[in-house]
Each structure stands twice: as structure tokens, then as C-alpha cells.
């Protein structure tokens, strides 16, 4: 437990890298390729088909050269038969290259989509493996976009522009090769004519990267504004601040639009240099080519074919301009995905090297545990034992460190210093499958999935039979409540469980933890929104069914503390008192004494 202090710092890195970082496109691609070795599957075959299909690009100009030099302006005058033969051979070549083109693309799509689907799933899993701190430090929407829109951007680019770009690159190489074959002098002329454009485009590339970076940033702001207007709809209604929200939304929308326009202008201006270069190259080929022709170095057919080739050589530049925006976004999306994958989970599963919890009831031991989120100390040198099979309540004022205690106990976070042990095993050596099946925490916010009540409870134990499920609710004394639901256990709970009231959600969350049958149950204000009568009833049934196990309940309703075997009082990050309720309450000047007096005032 020594390397855990860096958690907040790492979380910050994810945020920063989510936007611009001076990493070159090539570096991103290299990083991406090394993370997706699947991309190399069948690469040789794909390359083979690619090379053959590229040859087709030069077939027509060569045919024209042959037809003109030997069939039309040849020494024997017009030779229709020869032209026909040339055309037939070329058509045959085209048939083969077209087929190879199709095969190449088919393989390319299958391999790349498969690889990207794997990256998608790995990233999804990786995000779940990151600690809570990481998950909280990023906007939830931006985590979702790692496995959705970021990867969608890559696949859409591949489908739309990526293939065109690859083919264009091939076309560039093949035509350049044939051009050099016809005349190295003219090829030199073309390259010289293009040289300035290459520099201009390179220079613009930097400005473009900045411009598109701004577009993405504004898109993030836009999404945040929309999300707020949707999620915060009740507040916006209740406070009549629709106009304020509308202004914020419109500002974000227009800001995004302006940045898009700027990026486009930069791109168009940059690439117009390519167009001018193309004109320059063609004109130069005409002038120099005619001189070479007069000198006898070039035939009419060769020069004509050369003009066709120059056009084919230029096309990729035009195409690049059309798909560049997409390419930028795709690379940026890839980069964001890779950045998340590169963050090592700081609260990591020891996996195979880890140990399992020994059978039987679990005891808890905190050894000199301190915790800080990077600012003030939240838990300060906590040292305590919770014997197996006891029911312990942790109480204290808001911000005293109760919830942090629960998170360290369940290894949602690691302590900054010190060690937490369960049944003698240091938590960071405990395998997650063992930890999560034996230790269950019910968080205060009873999050439910958009499914039925029954399915939500089964989340903890998919193999639970209907009878066992019904039995669980009966044992918890919730049969009446289930019967009051429109469709009983088959009632759908809505998004995040919002079709149920907050208290009802907590009931389902509790049932979910209950059927998980843990040996250590941690309740973090798990019944804070439930009515007192139901809470007391739940308390009693939980007491009965958790007898023989260890329970730690974080509570601000002191009824829980009264019922516990022992109360741990936390104040300003330190454990200040512990003992049974009856004993603690005798010291009326103590922290607990005051809390209890206030509680009595509240409830009597």
C-alpha cells in the first residue's frame, strides 16, 4: 500500500489528455496499432490485393499511350485491330484489379471493424476497472463517448473516407511510378511544381489541428449544456430560468458553429494551394514535354498518357481535402480512446497473484489508515478492529469521513497510507472475485437499471429462482410494498429507477444486496429516504438475517446506532469514541452524547 497516493493526480491526467496534447498523428497511429495487434490479421493478403488493385489505376493511361503510338499515330497509320486488342487486354486487367479492390476492401473492413469492436469492449471494461475517483473526475458523458462516439468516429471515417484515402495514397504511388517510367525529367518537373504546395499544406496542418481541436472542445461544451438542460429540467421549470438556459444553450450552439466555420476556412485555403500546384504541374508538363518531344525523347502517346497520369496524380490531393476533417476527428477519437486505455487502474485487481478470503465470518482491521483526496486530510490515522459477526454503526456529522471509511473498507479506494485488512488479508492482495462476492456495499444512491424490480434484484444473483426472489422480499418484510406496485415484481423501474420514489429505490437496492448473501455487509445510509416505520422493520429483519455475519452501517439516523452492537463515532477524520450505544450515551458532553441529544430532540 505504498503507491496509492497518486490517484487524484492520475485522474487529472485523464482530463487533460482528453483534449489537445502535442502528440503527432503518427504517434497516435503507432500507439493504436500496438494496442490492436488484430489489425495485422491477414495483412499480407490484403496488401497483395491492394497492390494488384492499384495497378488498375495506371491501366488506362498506358492503354491510351499504346493506342495512340501504335494504333492511331503509329507508322502503319490507323490500326483498328490493335486498338481493339489493347482495349480488350486493358478491360481484362481492369476486371482483375476491380475484383482485387473488392477483396481488399472486404478484408480491410472485416479486420478493422473486428479490431475496433474489441477496442470498444476493452475500453468499456477498462473504464469499469478504473477507480471511483477516476470515474468521478471525468464527466460521465465523456466516459460514455469513449466507447460510443469516439469509436464511431473511427469506424465512420474508415467507411467513408478512410478507404478513399488509402486508395488515393496507392494511386499516388502507382501513378508516380508509371510517370517516372515514361519520363524521369517530367516527373522531376511535377515534383518541383508540387514542392511549395507540400510545404504550405504542412504549415496549414498545424493550424488545422488547432482549429479542429477547438471544434471538439466547443462540441464538448455544447453537449454539456444540452445535458444540463435535459437532466436539470425540473430545476429549470421550478425556478423559471428557461431563458437563462436558452441563452447558455444558444451561446454554446453558436460557439460550436463559429469554430466549425473557422476550421473549414483554414482547410479550404490550405488545400487550394494543392489545386494551384496541380495547374502549375500540368502547364509545366505541357511546356517541358513538348520540348522533350521535339528532342525525340517522348512520343505523342507517352506525352498524352503523361497528362492523364498527372491528373490521376493530383486527384488524391483533392480527395484528401474532402475527407481531412473526418480524418482529424477519427485520429482525435482514437487518441482519446487510447488515453483512457493507457491509464493503469490504481485500485487494481491483484488477479491470479491475489489471495481469496478465508471461509467464514469476516473481521476488519484498519492499521494507521489515512486518506486524502489531495487536499485536506479526510481520514486521519484511523486504527481499529471490528471483530467478526458484530454489527457496527459508524456515526458522525456531515463531512466527518464516514463515507470515506466505507469506501476504503470495500476497496472502492485505497488509503493514502496505512493498511486495511479483512480476515487478516491486506485488501490490496485480495482478489476482486473473492472480495466482491463476500463483501457487498449498499450505496446511499440506490441506482437501479432500466428493467423490472425482479431483474434489478437478480443483478446480484442471476440464477435466483422466482420463488427465492419472492422469499427474499417476504423475509425483508416488503411483501405489502411489492403488492402495491402496479405489476408487482415485474414492475419496470424506469431510467435509473426514476419511476419509483427515492425511498422505494433504496428498498430494491437493499433487496439486491440481501440476496447477494455477503459475509460483510456495508450499508452507506442505505435507508435514508425510507419512512421510519419501514426502516425500523427493515432494521429488525436485517438484524435477524445478518446474525452471524459482520455488518457496518453508516448512519445519520441514530436508531441504527442504538441497535448496533457497537458504535464508532467519527469526528473530523478521527475515531473519537467507540462502544455500545448505552455506554457512549452516558457521557452527554461527548460527540456522541451531543449527537444523540440532538437526535432525541428531532424524533421525540
Amino acid at each position: 500500500m505504498t503507491t496509492t497516493a497518486t490517484a487524484p493526480a492520475k485522474a487529472k491526467v485523464v482530463n487533460e489528455t482528453a483534449e489537445e496534447r502535442p502528440e503527432s498523428t503518427w504517434a497516435t497511429i503507432r500507439r493504436g496499432l500496438s494496442l490492436s495487434p488484430e489489425l495485422r490479421t491477414g495483412l499480407a493478403g490484403t496488401l497483395f490485393f491492394a497492390i494488384i488493385s492499384m495497378v488498375g489505376r495506371a491501366a488506362v493511361p498506358v492503354a491510351i499511350q499504346q493506342a495512340i503510338d501504335k494504333g492511331i499515330a503509329g507508322p502503319g497509320g490507323l490500326d483498328v485491330g490493335f486498338v481493339g486488342t489493347v482495349a480488350a487486354i486493358t478491360a481484362g486487367v481492369l476486371a482483375v484489379t476491380t475484383l482485387c479492390g473488392y477483396l481488399m476492401m472486404r478484408r480491410l473492413f472485416t479486420v478493422s471493424e473486428t479490431a475496433l469492436a474489441n477496442v470498444r469492449v476493452r475500453t468499456f471494461r477498462h473504464i469499469h476497472d478504473l477507480s471511483m475517483l477516476h470515474q468521478q473526475s471525468e464527466r460521465r458523458g465523456s466516459l460514455v463517448s469513449r466507447v460510443t462516439s469516439d469509436i464511431d468516429q473511427i469506424t465512420q471515417f474508415l467507411q467513408w473516407g478512410g478507404v478513399i484515402l488509402i486508395i488515393s495514397a496507392g494511386q499516388l504511388l502507382v501513378t508516380a511510378g508509371v510517370m517516372a517510367f515514361y519520363s524521369w525529367q517530367l516527373t522531376l518537373v511535377v515534383l518541383v511544381a508540387f514542392a511549395p504546395a507540400v510545404f504550405v499544406i504542412r504549415a496549414f496542418q498545424k493550424r488545422l489541428a488547432g482549429a479542429y481541436g477547438l471544434v471538439r472542445q466547443r462540441m464538448g461544451a455544447l453537449l454539456a449544456a444540452v445535458s444540463e438542460s435535459v437532466v436539470g429540467a425540473p430545476v429549470i421549470r421550478a425556478y423559471g430560468v428557461s431563458e437563462r438556459t436558452r441563452t447558455r444553450l444558444n451561446t454554446a450552439i453558436d460557439g460550436h458553429k463559429t469554430s466549425q466555420m473557422r476550421a473549414l476556412r483554414t482547410s479550404v485555403i490550405g488545400f487550394s494551394s494543392g489545386e494551384i500546384a496541380a495547374g502549375l504541374a500540368t502547364a509545366a508538363v505541357v511546356v517541358v514535354g513538348v520540348q522533350l518531344g521535339i528532342g525525340g525523347t517522348l512520343t505523342i502517346g507517352q506525352l498524352t498518357a503523361y497528362l492523364f497520369l498527372v491528373t490521376l496524380f493530383i486527384q488524391p490531393v483533392q480527395i484528401a481535402a474532402e475527407v481531412l476533417n473526418e480524418a482529424q476527428n477519427a485520429v482525435a477519437g482514437w487518441r482519446r480512446v487510447l488515453d483512457v486505455l493507457d491509464v493503469a487502474p490504481d485500485v487494481a485487481d491483484p488477479g491470479e497473484q491475489g489471495v481469496s478470503l478465508p471461509e467464514g465470518p469476516i473481521d476488519v482491521r484498519f492499521e494507521d489508515v489515512s486518506f486524502t483526496y489531495g487536499g485536506p486530510i479526510v481520514l486521519d490515522d484511523v486504527d481499529l478492529d471490528i471483530p467478526a459477526k458484530t454489527r457496527v454503526a459508524v456515526v458522525g456529522e456531515t463531512g466527518s469521513g464516514k463515507t470515506t471509511f466505507a469506501k476504503l473498507l470495500t476497496r472502492l479506494m485505497d488509503p493514502t497510507t496505512g493498511t486495511v485488512r479483512l480476515s487478516g488479508v491486506p485488501l490490496d492482495q485480495l482478489r476482486f472475485d473473492s472480495l466482491r462476492s463476500r463483501v457487498v456495499m449498499v450505496p446511499q444512491d440506490g441506482f437501479l437499471f432500466d428493467a423490472t424490480v425482479a431483474e434489478n434484484v437478480r443483478f446480484a444473483r442471476p440464477d435466483l429462482t422466482d420463488a427465492d426472489l419472492a422469499l427474499a422480499f417476504t423475509e425483508l418484510g416488503l411483501t405489502d410494498w411489492v403488492e402495491s406496485l402496479p405489476n408487482g415484481l415485474a414492475t419496470r423501474v424506469g431510467e435509473r429507477g426514476e419511476a419509483l420514489s427515492v425511498g422505494e429505490r433504496q428498498l430494491v437496492a437493499l433487496a439486491r444486496a440481501y440476496v447477494a448473501d455477503p459475509d460483510l455487509l456495508v450499508l452507506d445510509e442505505a435507508t435514508s429516504a425510507v419512512d421510519p416505520a419501514t426502516e425500523v422493520r427493515l432494521q429488525r429483519t436485517l438484524d435477524a438475517v445478518t446474525r452471524g455475519r459482520t455488518t457496518v452501517a453508516i448512519a445519520h439516523r441514530l436508531s441504527t446506532a442504538q441497535a448496533a452492537d457497537e458504535v464508532i463515532v467519527v469526528d473530523k477524520g478521527r475515531v473519537v469514541q467507540r462502544g455500545p450505544h448505552d455506554k457512549l450515551v452516558q457521557d452527554s458532553g461527548s460527540v456522541y452524547g451531543k449527537l444523540y441529544a440532538s437526535w432525541l430532540e428531532q424524533t421525540r
Binding site: G56, V60, I64, A67, I72, V80, T90, A91, T98, G101, M105, E113, L116, R120, F124, I127, H128, R140, V147, V163, L223, A224, V226, S227, S229, V230, A233, P234, V235, R237, V241, S242, R246, K257, Q260, L264, E275, G279, T282, A283, V286, V287, T299, T304, L307, L412, R436, P443, Q444, F459, S484, P486, R496, A529, V530, P532, E535, L595, S598, Q602
Partner: protein
């Protein structure tokens, strides 16, 4: 059947494009102008190259000498065409881009505007993820074909020009051209028809993948604490694989289309060579013509694809447009009245009279089904609720979990409207009041606090007029939030993060309480709004509210005895009905359900003490 629907989709796609042109006619004209110029120059350049070959290169090489003036003229013509093409490209690409961006912005404004106007009941029926993608990816999908549209229109004009020029040159070669163009057109139509269902499926799968990711990350804490990462990953992977398969099927079609589109003009060129040689022999055309036409076919290949881009994206565009229309044509926005009573300093009187409420039917994710179910209601959750919060009084709503208290709170500030019955403030029916009057007079503090990703100051003031820093601090003091805010690094200017994640639950509740108090409401509705606040802090807040200088009527949903004790009257709710109303002691005597609820802790303790006593006795006797 698939082809019928896809033909239908293409027709509807063209209507969506028509809508775009109607929305942005000038920019569209500008872009098409640029594109037509570009297309004309493409055709022109073919003839310039043809002439250079026929009139300059052939004589020069055959004669061994060149007319320099003519050579330089040719070169200049090539350059001039390039410069003009740049002008055309500027017009086309800037025009197309601006048109697309403006349409996106326009429809984003419209869609988000609807979000603000439509009632909460409408919001309840739609998943958050759906609404987010309506404003984002659906807008993008709807206007995706706009980027290549001017290019495609210009290409059509260019093709017409090319055919015309072909007929002027030689009718036989023109027929070859017509056949080639017809072939290109057919491939495009075939492609877009076959593509439509595949694209639609891919889009659907994308939505599913996104929905799972949203939910799974939303519930990350539950997933983690239950150790279900593996199962969640399996669930996600299943959907991701389906999306992969859908995308591969899109890609395979694309893989067929691109090489074919590439090859067809080349075949056309070869046909021109053969036919042209015959025509050359017959003396009907010159070498210039032959080269021009062959060149024309070569340069046409690229622009013709733009037509395919537009057609292929139409299905996606239509799908996006339909989803936008679902939002834009949704009705049932809350109509506000015109009454705006003078704001007084005296507290308000709230009255419910015979109110029933039924939740709108559950989530409808299906676009078409939405219109049909708009007016249908689910089971009734409130029955015949009548109650009064008199001026300056505090009324507590008490009832078991799930009895309908939060719904009453939402009705009181008109977040939702009742199915039957009326709710009024100071005798004005809520629907008769203006939105501003409603917000001025009544404030709700919800059970789960919502914090904007903004500063503390903005969260409390919400840009409402007349709330200066003094008022903010006063409200924070009243809500017992002043101390922790003062301790924040930048005080009121501290950014609290998305949904206020940098604050604790109790701090968030107090901040939203301060937000409500800052508006000096005449009616305050607290929906279990202090549940995450420690008892002592809550007591202090309630004391301040009771004895404060802001005279306010309060409706409070509460479980805590102390909170209830502060109320002048208690209304006890069970299963959506008012079971009893009266003072705390009256209800304690008259209503067993109420007594059970509020004395639960005492009874539990008493019982425990009995048990203890019994155990102790047992110990003694043993």
C-alpha cells in the same frame, strides 16, 4: 418489400433536402454556383487538354518545331483553369460547409428550445440518452448529406454539359458517354437502395450500444460494489458484436461500390478508344476530339461519386430527421396564464382541491408510438387530494415510502398538472399564472439536489434579477451553507463541477436550499430536502426558517419528528389518498398508521430496552 421502403426513403430524403434548401436558399445557391463553375471547368479542362494534344503536341512532335506563342497560350489556359477552379472550390466547399453548420445550429436551437418548452411529463417519457442524441447525432445525421449536396448538384449540371458537348463533337461517342453515365447512375441507385437498410440497422445498433454504456457507467458504483464488471462487459460485448456485424455488412457493400465506380469510367474510356478509332478512320472526328473525350471520362470519375455520397446518406438523414420531428412536433407544452399578481411580502396560500394524478405511460422509445400514447395515462397515483397551506403556516406531508408525497410537492409548484381537480395559490389557479409569477411565488427544493456545472454564485442566483452577493450570502446563511462555502478556495466563485460532485450530499442539499431561499419565495415546498443533512444542522435550518424575517408558507415532506413538530398542521397520506389531517397530537391519537410511522424509533427503542431488561434478568437468574 425492402426496395419499396427504400424507394420511399429516397423520396422522403429528397424532401428533407428540399427543406434544407428552403431554410438556407441563398447559401445553397452560392454553393451550387461554385460547384457548377467547378463542373464546367472540369469539362472545359478536358477540351483544353484535347486541344493541347491535338493542336500543339501532335504538330510539334511530328514537325519537330513548336509555335512558342501557342505553347505558352496552352500553358496559360491550363493555369487559368486551375485558378478559376480554386474559386469554384471556395464557393462550393465554403458554401456547403456554412450551409451544413447553419442548419445544424438552427435545428439544435429548435430542438433544445422544445426541451425547455415541453412539460416535465414529456421529459419523463423520454430517456435522457435519447434527448441528448436528438440534439447531437440526430441533427448531424439529418444534415450529413448537405456537405456533398452542392457538389452533387454541380456534378449533375456538369454531366448535362458533358453530354451536350459530346453531342456537339460526335453523336456516336456521345452515345458511349450516355451509356457510361447511365451505368454510373444505375450503380448509384443500386448502391443507395441496398445501403439504406444496412445503414438503418447500423444506426439502430449504435443507439443500443450507447444506451448500455450510458446505463452501465451511470450505475458504475453498483457494478463495482457487486463485482459485476464481467457480466456488464458481456452484455456490452454482445451488442458491440452486433454493431460490428452491421458495420461489416455496410463496409462490404461499400467495398463493392467503390471499385465499380472507379472501373466504369475507365471502361467508358476504353470504349471511346475503340469507337473513336473507327470514327477517326471515317474522318468524322480529329485526334483532338478523341483525346478530349477520353480525358473527360477520366476527370468525371471523381465528381460523380458525390452523387453516391448524397444518395447513400439519405436513409440516415431521414432517420435523423424523423427523430427531430418527433421533438419538434411534440405538443402538450405547459400553457401559462396571463395573471401576474403584484409580488407582496406576505406569505401565500396554497390549496389543492379534489386533485387526481396519473403518471404518463412509461418510457416510449419508439418514435411512432409516442404520438399515440401521448394522452394516455398510467395508473392513478393520487386520488382526490384536497388540502390547504394557509398563509404563513407550515404544513407537513407525512406518509409511508411510495405514498405519493413527492408527486404532491411537484404539483404544488406546477412541475406537472393534475389529471383532475385544481391547485391554486392565493385563489389563482396555477395554470392562470404566468411562468414568471409562478417561479417568483413558489419554490421547490427537491429530494435529490440538482447542481449546475457552474460557480456557487451562479447556482444560487441563477441569473434571477435582484439577487446580489449580499442576498446570496444571506440565503447561504439561512441554509447553514455559509460556513462551508466561505471555506472553499474561491468562495462564491468556486466551480462545483458536474452535478456538484465536489460537494458532499448534505452540502449539495443546503446549496439547493439556499437557491430556493434566495428568491424569497412566498411558498416554499421542501421535499424531504434535508435528508442528507445531519439532525443538528437540520434543526438549525428549520429554526432559522421558522423565526426568519422572510415570511413564508411552507409545505414540507418529512419523516423526522422534529420537522413534523414544527408544522402547524400535518396531512397524512397513504396510497395516494389523504387519510387524515390535523395537528400532530390529533393525528397521533386518531390515526394508527400515522402513529406507527412517527413513533417507530421510540417503539423500537422501548422494545430493545425490554429485551435488554429481559436479557439482564436472564443473566441474573442464570
Amino acid at each position: 418489400m425492402a426496395s419499396v421502403t427504400s424507394r420511399d426513403v429516397l423520396a422522403r430524403g429528397f424532401r428533407v433536402l428540399g427543406r434544407a434548401i428552403k431554410d438556407e436558399p441563398r447559401i445553397f445557391a452560392f454553393a451550387v454556383g461554385g460547384s457548377v463553375l467547378f463542373g464546367g471547368l472540369v469539362v472545359g479542362s478536358a477540351y483544353v487538354i484535347g486541344h493541347i494534344v491535338g493542336k500543339i503536341i501532335v504538330p510539334a512532335i511530328e514537325d519537330g518545331a513548336v509555335d512558342n506563342a501557342l505553347l505558352w497560350l496552352g500553358a496559360l489556359a491550363v493555369l487559368a483553369i486551375s485558378v478559376l477552379r480554386v474559386v469554384g472550390i471556395f464557393g462550393r466547399r465554403l458554401g456547403a460547409g456554412y450551409m451544413q453548420f447553419r442548419l445544424q445550429a438552427r435545428y439544435r436551437r429548435l430542438v433544445t428550445g422544445r426541451y425547455l418548452d415541453l412539460p416535465l411529463s414529456w421529459h419523463h417519457r423520454h430517456a435522457t440518452g435519447t434527448l441528448l442524441s436528438n440534439a447531437n447525432s440526430d441533427v448531424e445525421a439529418a444534415w450529413f448529406p448537405i456537405a456533398p449536396l452542392p457538389f452533387a448538384v454541380g456534378t449533375l449540371v456538369m454531366l448535362l454539359g458533358a453530354v451536350g458537348s459530346l453531342f456537339l463533337t460526335d453523336w456516336v461517342l456521345a452515345l458511349v458517354g450516355l451509356a457510361t453515365f447511365a451505368g454510373l447512375f444505375l450503380i448509384n441507385v443500386f448502391y443507395s437502395r441496398r445501403m439504406a437498410p444496412r445503414q438503418a440497422r447500423a444506426q439502430l445498433m449504435r443507439g443500443e450500444v450507447s444506451a448500455i454504456a450510458h446505463e452501465s457507467f451511470d450505475g458504475a458504483l453498483v457494478v463495482k460494489t457487486m463485482g459485476r464488471e464481467g457480466q456488464e462487459t458481456d452484455r456490452f460485448a454482445g451488442q458491440a458484436r452486433e454493431l460490428r456485424d452491421a458495420l461489416i455488412s455496410v463496409g462490404r457493400l461499400r467495398g463493392l461500390f467503390d471499385p465499380l465506380m472507379e472501373t466504369l469510367p475507365s471502361l467508358g474510356t476504353l470504349a471511346v478508344l475503340i469507337v473513336g478509332t473507327f470514327r477517326l478512320r471515317a474522318g468524322d472526328i480529329s485526334v483532338t476530339d478523341l483525346v478530349s473525350i477520353a480525358f473527360l471520362f477520366t476527370v468525371l470519375a471523381f465528381p460523380v461519386r458525390a452523387i453516391g455520397w448524397v444518395l447513400a446518406e439519405l436513409p440516415r438523414s431521414v432517420a435523423g430527421w424523423d427523430r427531430l420531428q418527433h421533438v419538434l412536433t411534440a405538443t402538450g407544452e405547459m400553457r401559462y396564464g396571463t395573471i401576474s399578481p403584484e409580488k407582496s411580502d406576505s406569505p401565500a396560500r396554497l390549496a389543492f382541491d379534489g386533485v387526481d394524478y396519473a403518471y404518463p405511460t412509461g418510457a416510449d422509445t419508439d418514435d411512432m408510438a409516442a404520438a399515440a400514447t401521448q394522452d394516455e395515462h398510467g395508473p392513478t397515483v393520487l386520488h382526490d387530494i384536497s388540502l390547504v397551506v394557509p398563509e404563513g403556516r407550515t404544513v407537513a406531508l407525512v406518509g409511508p415510502t411510495g405514498s405519493g408525497k413527492s408527486t404532491i410537492a411537484s404539483l404544488a409548484v406546477r412541475l406537472v398538472d393534475p389529471a383532475t381537480g385544481t391547485i391554486s395559490i392565493d385563489g389563482h389557479d396555477l395554470p392562470d399564472l404566468t411562468a414568471a409569477a409562478l417561479a417568483d411565488n413558489a419554490a421547490l427544493v427537491a429530494q435529490i439536489p440538482f447542481i449546475f456545472d457552474d460557480s456557487v454564485r451562479a447556482n444560487v442566483a441563477l441569473d434571477r434579477p435582484g439577487i446580489d452577493d449580499d442576498a446570496i450570502w444571506a440565503a447561504l446563511r439561512l441554509a447553514q451553507a455559509d460556513e462551508f462555502i466561505a471555506r472553499l478556495p474561491e468562495g462564491l466563485d468556486t466551480m462545483v463541477g458536474e452535478r456538484g460532485t465536489s460537494l458532499s450530499g448534505g452540502q449539495r442539499q443546503r446549496l439547493t436550499l439556499a437557491r430556493a431561499l434566495a428568491g424569497r419565495p412566498r411558498l416554499l415546498v421542501l421535499d424531504d430536502a434535508t435528508s442528507a443533512v445531519d439532525p443538528r444542522v437540520e434543526a438549525a435550518i428549520l429554526a432559522a426558517l421558522r423565526g426568519g424575517e422572510q415570511p413564508t408558507s411552507i409545505m414540507v415532506v418529512a419523516y423526522r419528528r422534529a420537522t413534523i413538530a414544527l408544522a402547524d398542521e400535518v396531512v397524512y397520506i397513504e396510497h395516494g389518498r389523504v387519510v387524515a389531517a390535523g395537528t400532530h397530537s390529533e393525528l397521533l391519537a386518531s390515526t394508527p398508521g400515522y402513529a406507527d410511522l412517527v413513533t417507530a424509533y421510540e417503539r423500537a427503542e422501548a422494545e430493545r430496552e425490554r429485551e435488554h431488561a429481559y436479557e439482564d434478568e436472564g443473566a441474573v437468574t442464570a
